[in-house]
Amino acid sequence: MENLINKQIESFKVSAFCKGEFVEITQEDLKGHWSVLFFYPADFTFVCPTELGDLAEHYEQFKEENCEIYSVSEDTHFVHKAWADASDTIKKISYVMLADPAGVLAKQFGVLVEEEGQALRGTFILNPKGQVKAYEIHDMGIGRNAKELLRKVQAAKFVEEHGDQVCPAKWQPGEETISPSLDLIGML
Protein backbone atom coordinates (compact mmCIF):
# COMPACT_ATOMS: atom_id res chain seq x y z
CA MET A 1 0.00 0.00 0.00
CA GLU A 2 1.34 3.40 -0.97
CA ASN A 3 2.25 5.76 1.84
CA LEU A 4 0.84 9.21 1.08
CA ILE A 5 2.72 11.22 3.70
CA ASN A 6 4.57 14.09 2.01
CA LYS A 7 2.85 13.31 -1.31
CA GLN A 8 2.67 16.47 -3.40
CA ILE A 9 -0.80 17.22 -4.67
CA GLU A 10 -0.93 16.74 -8.45
CA SER A 11 -2.53 19.14 -10.88
CA PHE A 12 -6.31 19.05 -11.17
CA LYS A 13 -9.20 21.29 -12.11
CA VAL A 14 -12.70 20.59 -10.82
CA SER A 15 -15.97 22.44 -10.51
CA ALA A 16 -17.26 23.24 -7.05
CA PHE A 17 -20.20 24.65 -5.17
CA CYS A 18 -19.61 27.36 -2.59
CA LYS A 19 -22.14 29.62 -0.87
CA GLY A 20 -24.71 29.37 -3.66
CA GLU A 21 -22.24 29.76 -6.50
CA PHE A 22 -20.35 27.52 -8.90
CA VAL A 23 -16.59 27.99 -8.95
CA GLU A 24 -13.54 26.27 -10.39
CA ILE A 25 -10.81 24.98 -8.13
CA THR A 26 -7.29 23.88 -9.08
CA GLN A 27 -4.32 22.57 -7.10
CA GLU A 28 -3.03 26.14 -6.87
CA ASP A 29 -6.05 27.14 -4.77
CA LEU A 30 -4.96 24.66 -2.13
CA LYS A 31 -1.57 26.30 -1.66
CA GLY A 32 -0.55 29.17 0.61
CA HIS A 33 -2.63 27.90 3.51
CA TRP A 34 -3.38 24.59 5.23
CA SER A 35 -6.07 22.50 3.55
CA VAL A 36 -8.29 19.60 4.49
CA LEU A 37 -9.64 17.41 1.70
CA PHE A 38 -12.67 15.68 3.15
CA PHE A 39 -13.94 12.85 0.93
CA TYR A 40 -17.38 11.34 1.50
CA PRO A 41 -19.33 8.73 -0.52
CA ALA A 42 -22.22 10.70 -1.96
CA ASP A 43 -24.66 13.56 -1.50
CA PHE A 44 -28.15 12.86 -0.15
CA THR A 45 -27.02 10.16 2.29
CA PHE A 46 -27.66 10.02 6.01
CA VAL A 47 -24.22 9.95 7.68
CA CYS A 48 -22.68 12.47 5.30
CA PRO A 49 -24.73 15.53 6.28
CA THR A 50 -23.99 14.75 9.92
CA GLU A 51 -20.26 14.79 9.24
CA LEU A 52 -20.38 17.78 6.94
CA GLY A 53 -22.56 19.68 9.42
CA ASP A 54 -20.10 18.89 12.21
CA LEU A 55 -17.34 20.24 10.00
CA ALA A 56 -19.37 23.37 9.20
CA GLU A 57 -19.84 24.05 12.91
CA HIS A 58 -16.06 24.00 13.40
CA TYR A 59 -15.24 25.82 10.15
CA GLU A 60 -14.45 29.14 11.85
CA GLN A 61 -11.93 27.41 14.10
CA PHE A 62 -10.26 25.83 11.07
CA LYS A 63 -10.04 29.25 9.42
CA GLU A 64 -8.43 30.64 12.58
CA GLU A 65 -5.75 28.02 12.01
CA ASN A 66 -5.30 29.31 8.44
CA CYS A 67 -6.87 26.09 7.19
CA GLU A 68 -9.44 25.79 4.41
CA ILE A 69 -11.88 22.90 4.17
CA TYR A 70 -12.71 21.21 0.85
CA SER A 71 -15.33 18.50 0.97
CA VAL A 72 -15.20 16.12 -2.01
CA SER A 73 -17.65 13.60 -3.41
CA GLU A 74 -18.11 11.97 -6.79
CA ASP A 75 -21.26 13.99 -7.41
CA THR A 76 -21.42 16.97 -9.76
CA HIS A 77 -21.56 20.56 -8.53
CA PHE A 78 -25.20 20.63 -9.67
CA VAL A 79 -26.01 17.81 -7.26
CA HIS A 80 -24.22 19.68 -4.46
CA LYS A 81 -26.48 22.66 -5.16
CA ALA A 82 -29.57 20.50 -5.21
CA TRP A 83 -28.53 19.00 -1.89
CA ALA A 84 -27.97 22.44 -0.38
CA ASP A 85 -31.40 23.50 -1.62
CA ALA A 86 -32.98 20.43 -0.03
CA SER A 87 -31.10 20.24 3.27
CA ASP A 88 -30.86 22.89 5.99
CA THR A 89 -27.64 21.32 7.23
CA ILE A 90 -25.94 21.55 3.83
CA LYS A 91 -27.34 25.02 3.18
CA LYS A 92 -25.35 26.30 6.18
CA ILE A 93 -22.03 25.08 4.78
CA SER A 94 -19.75 27.91 3.73
CA TYR A 95 -16.64 25.90 2.84
CA VAL A 96 -16.03 24.74 -0.73
CA MET A 97 -17.73 21.52 -1.89
CA LEU A 98 -15.66 20.02 -4.69
CA ALA A 99 -17.31 17.98 -7.43
CA ASP A 100 -15.25 15.01 -8.59
CA PRO A 101 -17.55 13.01 -10.93
CA ALA A 102 -14.57 11.80 -13.00
CA GLY A 103 -12.84 10.53 -9.86
CA VAL A 104 -9.70 12.56 -10.54
CA LEU A 105 -9.13 13.55 -6.93
CA ALA A 106 -10.42 10.30 -5.43
CA LYS A 107 -8.00 8.32 -7.60
CA GLN A 108 -5.14 10.67 -6.78
CA PHE A 109 -5.67 10.04 -3.06
CA GLY A 110 -6.50 6.34 -3.36
CA VAL A 111 -10.06 6.51 -2.00
CA LEU A 112 -12.10 5.75 -5.13
CA VAL A 113 -14.24 2.60 -5.02
CA GLU A 114 -14.59 2.26 -8.79
CA GLU A 115 -17.41 -0.29 -8.92
CA GLU A 116 -19.59 1.97 -6.81
CA GLY A 117 -18.40 5.29 -8.21
CA GLN A 118 -18.04 6.56 -4.65
CA ALA A 119 -15.20 7.68 -2.42
CA LEU A 120 -14.25 6.17 0.92
CA ARG A 121 -14.31 8.54 3.86
CA GLY A 122 -10.79 9.83 3.44
CA THR A 123 -9.45 12.93 5.20
CA PHE A 124 -6.20 14.50 4.05
CA ILE A 125 -4.40 17.37 5.76
CA LEU A 126 -2.15 19.30 3.37
CA ASN A 127 0.42 21.93 4.31
CA PRO A 128 0.64 25.29 2.48
CA LYS A 129 2.95 23.69 -0.10
CA GLY A 130 0.27 21.15 -0.99
CA GLN A 131 1.96 18.18 0.69
CA VAL A 132 0.06 15.57 2.65
CA LYS A 133 1.07 15.74 6.32
CA ALA A 134 -1.60 13.51 7.86
CA TYR A 135 -4.47 11.38 6.63
CA GLU A 136 -7.02 8.78 7.59
CA ILE A 137 -9.31 6.62 5.50
CA HIS A 138 -12.51 5.11 6.88
CA ASP A 139 -14.83 2.56 5.33
CA MET A 140 -18.14 3.98 4.12
CA GLY A 141 -20.18 3.73 7.31
CA ILE A 142 -17.59 4.98 9.80
CA GLY A 143 -17.99 8.67 10.59
CA ARG A 144 -15.34 11.19 11.55
CA ASN A 145 -15.03 13.86 14.23
CA ALA A 146 -14.37 17.50 13.26
CA LYS A 147 -12.96 18.35 16.68
CA GLU A 148 -10.39 15.57 16.39
CA LEU A 149 -9.58 16.71 12.86
CA LEU A 150 -9.02 20.25 14.14
CA ARG A 151 -6.62 18.87 16.78
CA LYS A 152 -4.70 17.06 14.05
CA VAL A 153 -4.44 20.21 11.94
CA GLN A 154 -3.13 22.10 14.97
CA ALA A 155 -0.62 19.33 15.67
CA ALA A 156 0.54 19.25 12.03
CA LYS A 157 0.99 23.03 12.06
CA PHE A 158 2.84 22.85 15.34
CA VAL A 159 5.31 20.25 14.11
CA GLU A 160 5.89 22.25 10.92
CA GLU A 161 6.66 25.38 12.95
CA HIS A 162 8.63 23.87 15.82
CA GLY A 163 10.19 20.76 14.31
CA ASP A 164 10.37 17.64 16.37
CA GLN A 165 11.87 19.15 19.50
CA VAL A 166 8.69 18.81 21.48
CA CYS A 167 6.71 15.92 22.86
CA PRO A 168 2.94 15.70 23.14
CA ALA A 169 1.95 15.75 26.78
CA LYS A 170 -0.46 13.13 27.99
CA TRP A 171 -0.67 13.35 31.74
CA GLN A 172 -1.73 10.19 33.51
CA PRO A 173 -2.30 10.75 37.21
CA GLY A 174 -0.73 8.13 39.41
CA GLU A 175 2.07 7.14 37.06
CA GLU A 176 5.24 5.85 38.68
CA THR A 177 8.34 8.01 38.67
CA ILE A 178 10.52 6.99 35.75
CA SER A 179 13.89 5.56 36.72
CA PRO A 180 16.70 8.05 36.10
CA SER A 181 18.79 7.62 32.98
CA LEU A 182 22.05 9.43 32.65
CA ASP A 183 23.45 10.34 29.26
CA LEU A 184 25.91 13.21 29.51
CA ILE A 185 28.31 12.21 26.78
CA GLY A 186 29.92 15.35 25.44
CA MET A 187 28.13 17.60 27.92
CA LEU A 188 30.70 17.79 30.72
Partner: protein, 223 residues
Protein backbone atom coordinates in the same frame (compact mmCIF):
# COMPACT_ATOMS: atom_id res chain seq x y z
CA UNK B 1 14.07 21.16 59.90
CA UNK B 2 13.09 17.59 59.15
CA UNK B 3 15.17 15.02 61.03
CA UNK B 4 17.41 13.68 58.28
CA UNK B 5 17.27 10.22 59.81
CA UNK B 6 13.63 10.04 58.81
CA UNK B 7 14.85 9.91 55.21
CA UNK B 8 16.50 6.78 53.86
CA UNK B 9 19.99 7.36 52.51
CA UNK B 10 19.33 4.83 49.75
CA UNK B 11 17.07 5.63 46.83
CA UNK B 12 15.41 2.84 44.89
CA UNK B 13 15.73 5.05 41.82
CA UNK B 14 19.53 4.88 41.93
CA UNK B 15 20.76 1.52 40.74
CA UNK B 16 24.26 0.24 41.34
CA UNK B 17 25.21 1.08 37.76
CA UNK B 18 23.81 4.60 38.01
CA UNK B 19 25.54 5.07 41.36
CA UNK B 20 28.88 4.33 39.70
CA UNK B 21 28.17 6.83 36.92
CA UNK B 22 27.09 9.47 39.42
CA UNK B 23 30.11 8.88 41.59
CA UNK B 24 32.42 9.57 38.65
CA UNK B 25 30.64 12.81 37.78
CA UNK B 26 30.15 14.05 41.34
CA UNK B 27 33.89 13.67 41.93
CA UNK B 28 34.31 16.60 39.53
CA UNK B 29 32.51 18.95 41.94
CA UNK B 30 34.89 21.29 43.73
CA UNK B 31 32.66 23.80 45.52
CA UNK B 32 30.26 23.25 48.39
CA UNK B 33 26.62 23.29 47.47
CA UNK B 34 23.67 22.68 49.75
CA UNK B 35 20.49 21.09 48.42
CA UNK B 36 17.49 22.51 50.24
CA UNK B 37 14.46 20.24 49.88
CA UNK B 38 11.00 21.26 50.91
CA UNK B 39 8.94 18.11 51.32
CA UNK B 40 5.68 16.72 52.58
CA UNK B 41 6.46 13.64 54.64
CA UNK B 42 3.08 12.16 53.72
CA UNK B 43 3.70 12.52 49.99
CA UNK B 44 5.26 9.70 47.95
CA UNK B 45 7.02 11.99 45.46
CA UNK B 46 8.51 14.05 48.29
CA UNK B 47 9.95 10.95 49.92
CA UNK B 48 11.31 9.71 46.57
CA UNK B 49 13.07 13.00 45.93
CA UNK B 50 14.36 13.27 49.50
CA UNK B 51 15.84 9.77 49.29
CA UNK B 52 17.37 10.50 45.91
CA UNK B 53 18.98 13.68 47.26
CA UNK B 54 20.33 11.91 50.35
CA UNK B 55 21.72 9.12 48.22
CA UNK B 56 23.46 11.57 45.87
CA UNK B 57 24.85 13.67 48.72
CA UNK B 58 26.33 10.47 50.11
CA UNK B 59 28.27 10.04 46.87
CA UNK B 60 29.91 13.45 47.05
CA UNK B 61 32.29 15.25 49.37
CA UNK B 62 31.09 18.74 48.52
CA UNK B 63 27.31 18.34 48.59
CA UNK B 64 25.10 18.65 51.65
CA UNK B 65 21.34 18.68 52.13
CA UNK B 66 18.64 19.94 54.47
CA UNK B 67 14.98 19.02 54.49
CA UNK B 68 12.14 21.25 55.55
CA UNK B 69 8.41 21.00 55.72
CA UNK B 70 6.26 23.60 54.03
CA UNK B 71 5.41 25.83 57.03
CA UNK B 72 9.04 26.22 58.04
CA UNK B 73 10.21 26.72 54.47
CA UNK B 74 7.69 29.48 53.84
CA UNK B 75 9.30 31.47 56.65
CA UNK B 76 12.96 30.62 56.07
CA UNK B 77 13.01 30.22 52.30
CA UNK B 78 10.40 32.62 50.92
CA UNK B 79 12.27 32.63 47.61
CA UNK B 80 11.13 29.04 47.02
CA UNK B 81 7.67 28.20 45.77
CA UNK B 82 6.41 25.80 48.42
CA UNK B 83 3.05 25.42 46.72
CA UNK B 84 4.55 22.75 44.44
CA UNK B 85 6.19 20.05 46.52
CA UNK B 86 8.65 18.54 46.52
CA UNK B 87 10.99 21.35 45.59
CA UNK B 88 14.76 21.00 45.65
CA UNK B 89 16.89 24.11 45.28
CA UNK B 90 20.63 24.63 44.99
CA UNK B 91 22.28 26.99 47.49
CA UNK B 92 25.87 28.13 47.32
CA UNK B 93 27.47 30.12 50.12
CA UNK B 94 24.02 30.36 51.74
CA UNK B 95 22.59 32.05 48.66
CA UNK B 96 19.89 30.68 46.39
CA UNK B 97 21.38 30.03 42.94
CA UNK B 98 18.05 30.46 41.16
CA UNK B 99 18.00 26.77 40.26
CA UNK B 100 15.15 24.66 41.53
CA UNK B 101 13.43 21.40 40.67
CA UNK B 102 9.76 20.86 41.40
CA UNK B 103 9.14 17.14 41.41
CA UNK B 104 11.41 14.12 41.31
CA UNK B 105 14.43 14.34 39.06
CA UNK B 106 13.89 10.87 37.64
CA UNK B 107 13.95 9.85 33.99
CA UNK B 108 15.75 12.27 31.70
CA UNK B 109 15.74 15.00 34.33
CA UNK B 110 18.55 13.26 36.16
CA UNK B 111 20.71 14.76 33.40
CA UNK B 112 19.58 18.30 34.14
CA UNK B 113 19.93 17.74 37.89
CA UNK B 114 23.51 16.49 37.59
CA UNK B 115 24.47 19.22 35.14
CA UNK B 116 22.99 21.90 37.41
CA UNK B 117 25.27 20.64 40.17
CA UNK B 118 28.22 20.59 37.78
CA UNK B 119 27.46 24.13 36.59
CA UNK B 120 27.18 25.49 40.13
CA UNK B 121 29.74 23.42 42.01
CA UNK B 122 32.16 22.35 39.32
CA UNK B 123 33.98 23.72 36.32
CA UNK B 124 30.65 24.06 34.55
CA UNK B 125 29.73 23.56 30.93
CA UNK B 126 31.48 25.73 28.41
CA UNK B 127 29.63 28.83 27.34
CA UNK B 128 30.30 31.42 24.66
CA UNK B 129 32.23 34.23 26.39
CA UNK B 130 30.24 36.87 24.56
CA UNK B 131 26.92 35.54 25.83
CA UNK B 132 28.39 34.94 29.26
CA UNK B 133 29.37 38.60 29.54
CA UNK B 134 25.89 39.68 28.52
CA UNK B 135 24.32 37.37 31.07
CA UNK B 136 26.55 38.79 33.80
CA UNK B 137 25.35 42.28 32.89
CA UNK B 138 21.66 41.39 32.95
CA UNK B 139 19.96 43.93 35.20
CA UNK B 140 16.38 42.73 35.44
CA UNK B 141 14.81 39.70 37.07
CA UNK B 142 13.84 36.78 34.88
CA UNK B 143 11.85 33.81 36.06
CA UNK B 144 11.68 30.75 33.82
CA UNK B 145 9.29 27.93 34.54
CA UNK B 146 10.09 24.90 32.41
CA UNK B 147 7.29 22.38 32.33
CA UNK B 148 8.55 18.91 31.54
CA UNK B 149 7.80 15.23 31.42
CA UNK B 150 10.42 12.88 32.83
CA UNK B 151 10.39 10.77 29.66
CA UNK B 152 11.09 13.68 27.30
CA UNK B 153 14.75 14.18 26.41
CA UNK B 154 13.99 17.52 24.72
CA UNK B 155 12.69 18.73 28.06
CA UNK B 156 15.90 17.93 29.89
CA UNK B 157 17.85 19.84 27.25
CA UNK B 158 15.70 22.93 27.74
CA UNK B 159 16.06 22.70 31.52
CA UNK B 160 19.84 22.40 31.12
CA UNK B 161 19.92 25.50 28.91
CA UNK B 162 17.81 27.63 31.23
CA UNK B 163 19.56 26.49 34.40
CA UNK B 164 22.97 27.11 32.86
CA UNK B 165 21.80 30.69 32.33
CA UNK B 166 20.66 30.83 35.95
CA UNK B 167 24.07 29.56 37.04
CA UNK B 168 25.66 32.46 35.14
CA UNK B 169 23.34 35.25 36.24
CA UNK B 170 22.03 36.16 39.68
CA UNK B 171 19.05 37.74 37.97
CA UNK B 172 17.78 34.52 36.41
CA UNK B 173 15.73 31.87 38.11
CA UNK B 174 15.05 28.60 36.25
CA UNK B 175 12.64 26.09 37.71
CA UNK B 176 12.01 22.63 36.33
CA UNK B 177 8.41 21.60 36.93
CA UNK B 178 7.23 18.03 36.34
CA UNK B 179 3.76 18.83 34.97
CA UNK B 180 2.57 15.31 35.77
CA UNK B 181 2.69 16.10 39.48
CA UNK B 182 0.74 19.35 39.26
CA UNK B 183 -2.27 18.70 37.01
CA UNK B 184 -3.91 21.99 38.03
CA UNK B 185 -0.95 23.83 36.48
CA UNK B 186 -1.08 21.72 33.33
CA UNK B 187 -4.69 22.85 33.03
CA UNK B 188 -4.06 26.47 34.01
CA UNK B 189 -1.25 26.92 31.48
CA UNK B 190 -2.88 24.69 28.81
CA UNK B 191 0.15 22.45 28.66
CA UNK B 192 -0.36 20.03 25.79
CA UNK B 193 3.19 19.92 24.56
CA UNK B 194 6.47 19.96 26.35
CA UNK B 195 8.98 21.37 27.02
CA UNK B 196 7.02 24.53 27.62
CA UNK B 197 8.89 27.47 29.11
CA UNK B 198 7.06 30.40 30.64
CA UNK B 199 9.06 33.59 31.12
CA UNK B 200 7.91 36.07 33.75
CA UNK B 201 4.38 34.67 33.41
CA UNK B 202 4.13 36.35 29.98
CA UNK B 203 6.09 34.76 27.18
CA UNK B 204 5.37 31.15 26.36
CA UNK B 205 8.00 29.16 24.47
CA UNK B 206 7.72 25.65 23.13
CA UNK B 207 10.53 23.29 22.34
CA UNK B 208 14.25 23.54 22.83
CA UNK B 209 16.13 26.84 22.46
CA UNK B 210 19.80 27.65 22.55
CA UNK B 211 21.26 29.95 25.19
CA UNK B 212 21.64 32.62 22.52
CA UNK B 213 17.98 32.30 21.47
CA UNK B 214 16.88 32.44 25.11
CA UNK B 215 19.02 35.51 25.74
CA UNK B 216 17.51 37.33 22.75
CA UNK B 217 14.08 36.73 24.27
CA UNK B 218 14.80 37.58 27.90
CA UNK B 219 16.83 40.71 27.24
CA UNK B 220 13.60 42.44 26.27
CA UNK B 221 12.03 41.92 29.71
CA UNK B 222 10.71 43.99 31.35
CA UNK B 223 9.66 46.22 28.50
Amino acid sequence: MVDIEKISSRSELITKELEEQLHTILKKLTDEVCLVCVIDLADKASIEMAELVRHMVGLSETLSCHFYEKAEAEINFPELDSSMLPVTALYKEDSYTGIAFHGVTGGKEMNSFVLALYNVAGAGQEIDKHIQKKLHKLSHKIEMKIFVSLSCHHCAQQVITCQKMAAESEMIEAKMIDARLYPHLAEEYHIERIPMTIINEKEVLLGVKTIDQMYQIIKAYPK
